[in-house]
Structures are given as C-alpha cells and as structure tokens.
C-alpha cells in the first residue's frame, strides 16, 4: 500500500503523517489528549464525539483541540 505524506495543521502548527489514514480518535491518542471534555474542530466545524473514530484528517485540514473549561 502506498503511504502518502499528509500535511495538516494541528492547533495552529503544521504536522504530517505517513499512515494510510488518520482519524481524529487516533490523533487524540497520539497527542495524549486526556481532557474528556475536549472540543474538536475540523476546518472550523465542530466534530461530534461519536464521529471521532470515523472522521479522517485529510491533506490541508485544520484541526483544533480545545479545552473548553475556562472563564468566569
């Protein structure tokens, strides 16, 4: 299987991966994201938690992991 180097933006910084595909769930685990309340946005759109395992990151995508508990 041919693996392409896929470049994307994570939390404002360029990243890349060589896997055949990368899901949001995998990206969370790779980054040791441990906030159960984390908000994920893909290209400015909210990604529901139930889609983390099936939502893939593509070339040029912008992904944000946001810890939403702050303020007051």
């Amino acid at each position: 299987m041919v693996c392409n180097n896929v470049k994307f933006i994570l939390n404002g910084y360029p990243e890349d991966f060589d896997e055949p595909s990368l899901t949001i769930q995998s990206l969370l685990e790779m980054n040791q994201e441990d906030d159960p309340a984390v908000i994920v946005e893909l290209n400015g759109k909210f990604v529901h938690r139930k889609y983390f395992s099936i939502c893939s990151v593509e070339e040029g995508d912008r992904v944000e992991f946001i810890h939403p508990s702050f303020g007051g």
Partner: protein, 784 residues
C-alpha cells in the same frame, strides 16, 4: 470541632484598613513624572468598512504626542482561546460594533487627548448590520467575520446515553424555554491602565485586571515584546466578575503608546466605554425537556442553547460549553443531550461573567424541575432530594463529584427558611421558591495549551524571622484571596495571621493563572500550602540539627515550637538570639522557643529561607476516554430559598428573605465566604429583576450608565441568611473549594419559582420587571 488555629475563623481582611482609609491605590490613582493621557477612538456605527483614516489634524494638535492606528499597532490577532484569535488591537478593514476600537491618542492632558480624537477623520462605508442572535444565523444575514460563515462563532454538541430512548421510557416529559437579556457586570472601578516602557526595553503595566498572567502573554504577543520583558502589576481592583479576565485594547494601546513615546501612558475607560467593551453576560436562549418517572426520578435531559456573542469570541467557546456541561449535576441523570451554538452579532462582545454559561441554563432547568414537581404532585424540595448526587458519584457527562454537600445544603435551607410551614400555606401575593446549582472550582487546563503549573507561590522568611512574605501572581480583586492565602500560610507555618504579608498580582512574583473559574482558593491555596510546608520543613531541619533531635518531633503552632509536645532544651538558642538583639525591648520569653527565634537560627545556619510551592491538576493518564484531569478538580454547590411579596395590582416584586447554603469544602475565612454568598445573591437578584443592556435599532447602547442600568443597592437586598456547608473536598487545600460563582446559580430560579408560588404566573424571560409581571397577571386573569 477542628484543630485549626487560623483557618475556619472570621478573620479581618488583610487589605481592609488600606481600603477603608483610602490608602489603597487603584490604577487610576497612579501618577508618574512625564505621564501622558491616552484616549481611544471608537466606531459610532455598528458595521462598516473602513475606507480611510486621516490622523494628520490630530497629530498637529498642541499637546498631542502620538496617534496610532492599525498601521502602527500591526495586525497580530489575539483573543482568549488560541483557537479563536479573531481580534486585532485596532479595527483595520472594518468595524463590527458601535465601540469597536480604531485609533488611540497620547497627549499631555486628557482634554487634549479627547479633542484629538475628534480631529481624527474616518471614512466609513456602512454595511448592513444584524443585532439579533436568531436573525444573525439565517440565510442572507450580514456576514460579520469571513471565516465564520452563517455567523456561527462556536458550537458544541454532546450526548451521553441514548436521550431519545430514555425520554421515550419516561412517564412524563416536560418542556420549557427561557430567555435572559445581555447584562453588564457593573464593577465599580472601570478598566484603567498605566503603561511604562523603560530604556531597557521592559514594559510594565499597572492595570485593573483579574489575570495578570494572561494580560502579560497577550500584550507580549501583540506588541512583539519578549514575554520576559513584560511585567503586569495588578494594583487594588474594584471588582472584576469576569469581564476583566482578558487583555483589553486599553492595555495594548497604552503599552504601544508608551513604547513609541518612551513615556508613561495612562488610560481609564469611562462608564460608557465599560458598557461598550462589555465582555459581560451573554444573552441566552434555552430550550429544555426533562423526562421523569411518576415517582419523581429524573431520567433524561435535552438541552438546547443559542447565545448572542456580540462581535468577537472572547470566552465564547467556554460559555457555550458550560451552558450544557454544568447541567450534568447535581442531579442524577441517565442521559443528557446538549446542542448549543453561539452567534456573532454586531454588538459589543460578551464574555465570562460570574457563573459563566451556567447561570441562564441553570435558571431554566430549576424552573423546569419545579414545573415537573407540580405536575406529579411532589414537593420541589423532596423532588430535588430524591435525585441529588452524593460525593463519589460521577455525573452523566463524566464530572467527578469528589465532594458534594448538596443534601446538606438543601436540608439546611429547608430548615433555615421554615419551608415546610410556608410552602403552600402563604396568602396570595406571597410566595416561596427554591433552586440548586453548582460550579467548577478551577479549570482543569490553562486557556492556552501548556503543561504550565497553574499556580506557583514563593514564601520568603524575613531575616529576623518575624514575618513570612508570601509572593504570588494571583489576583486579589475584592474576593478576599490575599487574606485566604495569608491564612493558609499562617496555619501551615504555625504562626499568627498578622505575621504573614501577602504581595500579589505581579507577574514578576510567580506564575498564577489569575482570578477566573473560581480557581484561586483551591489552586493558589494548594501552592501556598506547599510553599509553607517547604519553609517549615527547612526551619525544622536546621532546628533538629542544632538541637540534635528528630525533625519529625518538631511542631509549630501559635508562633511557638514544640519538641515532642514539650518545650525542649532551647536555652542556647534563646541566649544567642537575645545577645544578637542587644537594646531590643521585645526580647523573646516564655516557656517555649518562638517561631521567630527558630527562623532566625535557620537563617544564620542556611542563609535566606525560601519555601516554594506549585500546583497543577493531577493527571491520571493519557487516554482521551479516561476521566483524567477533566473539567475541574472539584465542584462547589448551592441551594437557596427565596420569599417574595408581589403587589397583584401593580406587579411590583419585593424579595423579602433569602436563605442560602453553599458547600465550599472548608471555609478558609468564614467572613469572606459569607461575603461571596451574599454578593452572589445580590448579583443574581439584579439580573433577575432589574438588569438589561438595551440597544437601539442601530446597535447603540441606550443605557450605558449606572444611573440607567439598574443594579441592586442595599435598599433592594432583603434579610439574607447564609449557611456554610463544609464537605471537606479531598482535592482542596485543607478541604477547601470554591464559593465565588457557585452561589449565584440558584438565585434567579429561586426568585422565579417564588414569584410563581405567589401569583400562579410563570415568567421565563428576564428581567422580571413589575410591568412584565403585571402584563402576565392581566393575561392570566383574562384567560381565567
């Protein structure tokens, strides 16, 4: 009963004398040689392209030192969450609300600065604006930010369990909607800042802020100054309540002008500018469905939120998250679904005001519980008691209730208000209502992605051993945090409170994320305790070595030292101390060695004595699915009962009595806890009955003054009975957790439930003015 000597008492605040005598200096009190006065030009229109800005006439005015626009400030974007940096210091391509900042002037007097503003000519091309959160997200609405199509600034969708299936299984599903109005925090001291850029390239800001650390970072980023060359000093602050939780254009403008002119620059917002800057309470629309069984067991909650965020994000992502997440407790639910979105509109930006996104949705939920209780014929107090969580429970949305005195709070207010003898027995026009609420005690993560410690504290012992100097970047904004930290340090060191001096609110002292999310008691408190323990341990070590005893047998209490609970053989130490202090008239005496002598010995043996402490929430592991840090390390909770009288002829509402119980884990300072409870009640009362920021059809604020925007005074407050509940939070220092924001949660719904009890009319839109209630009574009578 406990063994505390300092904690859990009613201690006078360490800053009380300075404030009461006028010695306290606030930012606007600062005067410096050569200081300039700055003013900001703000947009008079709600939505327009900026075609041209001509500052030439302003620059020529005598007394004007400099005029800056986005040309000088640059276009570095900033905001609160890095995922939503959607602001620049000055608007450059367009303005997005009446009040949007366009330019700033520094001059030798405030009058000249204001006159210079009037000489700045801005050519606008007005474009359609939108002011309603529902209209803003319709097709064809004016687009406010190109990167956010449809004016959706943020959205959160969560589901825990199968909510539809759970609702279908219920015996009864009750629906409700709720709408509040945009509010202002109405702190007495407007934003104010003095910026000093020195010859070494260091910028110091003396500014009225809740978050010196975040201001430092934002100013360093936007003005492109190395972060180590930016110092933020928070003087005395006259209230914050949330809107002072972020860097402001005032601070950045002052910093920029000081950098350019090389002189100190001061700016203070007028009250009108405070309203225009806002960053206060959003307008929320809530739509909820609660499913229950006939025996009152709550099963499922469906919750929808629409927020009017104004022109920029500010704290908006967190706000829309909290509108859902904070309803996960304090009641057991099997399923919960939340859909929330925040809309941009062409109005001042809304932010994080006391209680944040939880207040309006808590009001809706607590009314819904009352409505449900009525339908199934259950007492509202009993219904809540039936469903509350207890310590050790996990909410349906994975919030860990490490401590929760909710049952104790409810029982305390039921007894304290004589609920059982009043509910259902009051004459028409008199009503009693109750509600509950809870809130985070600190956020699990910093706002920017980092492994930083959330709080660090340094305690330096004075070389004569007499005073413990506590240095912290935490922010005393009137809530009493300096006193709390002094009490924690005193208790831990075993010395009287008056022997601790707190120096706070300075980013050069330590890293502390500041006063927001009700974090400082727990987080700064932990760091303080650790620093004091470190210092105590060092002193004990030197003592043990000197006296050839076991360190573990040394204790410090009430300013004296015990060796296995006995005086010990310390004569040599005392003799040395006395001889070193020849001529002193307050030489140590008594049966026990004093802490002062012990600390002095430690200095003589080891040099300067410093204890350091730090805190960040404990992380359990790296799995996203695990409950690792989570939303917060602890949660405070509250219950309130309110009694009202309603004049059925006019709709005039009088709040007669409020009984409030709050679980703060452990009350570090009972007086401060009661103060926070009562302050929360007054704020909630104002939001329920009086407060609304009003706009005209062109987006201009109609009531930007405290004469027109009514907040409660002492005359509006009823008798308040404050009951402190202490559940001993395992994650808190000495068991303590928050009180600053949790206590506001029940207030609005308790008043609304009492009004319903008095009149039979359920109001679900704030504020509940007498006119609104009167019209509702007329409608009810007409239908009947």
């Amino acid at each position: 009963m406990n063994d505390f000597r300092v904690l859990n008492t009613r201690a006078p605040r360490v800053d009380a004398a300075a404030k009461a005598t006028g010695q306290a200096k606030y930012a606007d009190d600062f005067k410096m040689p050569g200081m300039l006065y700055a003013a900001i030009l703000q947009s008079p229109v709600a939505h327009a392209r900026i075609l041209h800005i001509d500052t030439s006439k302003a620059k020529k005015l005598a007394g004007v030192e400099n005029v800056v626009t986005s040309k000088e400030a640059g276009l570095i974007r900033y905001g609160v969450s890095p995922a939503r940096y959607d602001e620049t210091i000055f608007a450059h391509d367009k303005v997005r609300y009446v009040g949007d900042e366009i330019a700033a002037v520094a001059a030798t007097s405030m009058e000249i600065a204001q006159e210079a503003l009037s000489l700045i000519k801005v050519d606008y091309e007005e474009i359609p604006a939108v002011f309603d959160m529902f209209e803003a997200t319709k097709d064809g609405a004016p687009q406010i930010h190109d990167e956010f199509p449809g004016n959706i600034n943020a959205e959160v969708h969560q589901e825990f369990g199968d909510t539809e299936a759970a609702l279908k299984s219920c015996d009864l599903v009750v629906d409700h909607t709720f709408l509040n109005k945009r509010q202002d925090a109405a702190f007495i001291e407007p934003h104010s800042c003095v910026a000093v850029f020195d010859h070494a390239g260091k910028l110091t800001l003396y500014t009225s802020t809740q978050v010196p650390h975040y201001v430092m970072r934002t100013v360093a980023m936007t003005l492109q100054i190395p972060v180590g060359n930016v110092r933020v000093i928070k003087p005395y602050v006259g209230g914050g309540f949330g809107p002072k939780c972020e860097a402001t254009p005032l601070e950045m403008s002052c910093g920029l002008l000081s950098k350019i002119t090389g002189k100190p620059v001061k700016m203070t917002y007028s009250r009108e500018q405070v309203f225009l800057h806002s960053r206060a309470r959003h307008q929320f629309y809530a739509e909820m469905s609660l499913g229950v069984m006939n025996d009152g067991t709550m099963v499922a909650l469906k919750n929808k939120a629409v927020l009017d965020g104004g022109a920029y994000t500010s704290f908006g992502i967190a706000t829309v998250y909290y509108s859902g997440s904070l309803l996960g407790g304090p009641y057991k639910l099997k399923a919960m679904k939340y859909d929330g979105h925040r809309a941009y509109t062409n109005k001042p930006a809304c932010g994080a005001q006391r209680g944040h996104g939880g207040v309006a949705h808590r009001a809706c939920f607590e009314q819904l519980i009352d409505m449900t209780a009525e339908k199934i014929g259950m007492d509202p107090v009993e219904m809540r008691l039936k469903n509350i969580m207890t310590a050790g429970d996990m909410t349906v949305n994975e919030l860990d209730m490490s401590s929760l005195g909710m049952k104790e709070c409810i029982e305390a207010i039921r007894e304290g208000s004589d609920w059982n003898n009043k509910k259902g027995k009051l004459p028409k026009g008199k009503g009693i209502g109750m509600a509950c609420g809870f809130f985070v005690s600190g956020a699990g993560y910093p706002i920017y992605r980092s492994d930083t410690y959330h709080s660090t504290v340094v305690i330096k012992m004075s070389e004569d051993g007499g005073v413990a100097n506590l240095l912290t970047g935490s922010a005393e904004i009137g809530q009493g945090s300096d006193t709390a930290m002094a009490m924690i340090a005193a208790e831990t060191l075993g010395i009287p409170l008056e022997n601790v001096r707190v120096y706070s609110g300075d980013t050069d002292y330590s890293v502390d994320l500041g006063a927001y999310s009700s974090r400082q008691t727990l987080m700064t408190g932990h760091a303080t305790k650790e620093a004091a323990e470190d210092l105590r341990d060092k002193i004990a070590g030197f003592l043990a070595e000197e006296m050839n005893v076991e360190k573990s047998g040394i204790t410090f209490v009430d300013g004296i030292v015990k060796f296995d609970d006995a005086p010990g053989n310390f004569e040599k130490i005392r003799t040395s101390y006395i001889k070193e202090h020849r001529g002193w008239t307050d030489q140590p005496s008594g049966e026990f060695l004093t802490f002062r002598e012990a600390a002095r010995l430690a200095f003589l043996k080891g040099g300067t004595l410093v204890g350091t402490g730090k805190y960040k929430p404990h992380r359990l592991g790296g799995s996203y699915k695990g409950a690792a840090v989570g939303t917060s390390p602890a949660y405070g909770c509250s219950a309130q009962i309110v009694e009202v009288s309603v004049d059925l002829e006019t709709g005039q509402i009088t709040v007669d009595k409020m009984t409030d119980a709050h679980d703060c884990g452990l009350a570090i300072n009972k007086m401060s806890v009661e103060g926070q409870m009562q302050g929360s009640l007054s704020m909630g009362l104002g939001e329920c009955l009086f407060e609304e920021v009003k706009f005209d059809s062109r987006g201009r604020v109609l009531n930007p003054s405290l004469g027109e925007y009514k907040i409660p005074t002492a005359l509006d407050m009823p008798n308040v009975r404050s009951i402190i509940v202490e559940s001993n939070e395992p994650n808190g220092p000495y068991g303590a957790k928050e009180v600053g924001e949790g206590a506001i949660m029940p207030t609005i719904p308790a008043i609304l439930n009492a009004i319903y009890d008095a009149t039979g009319v359920r109001i679900n839109e704030l504020p509940v003015t007498s006119e609104k209630l009167f019209m509702a009574l007329v409608e009810k009578n007409r239908i009947v």
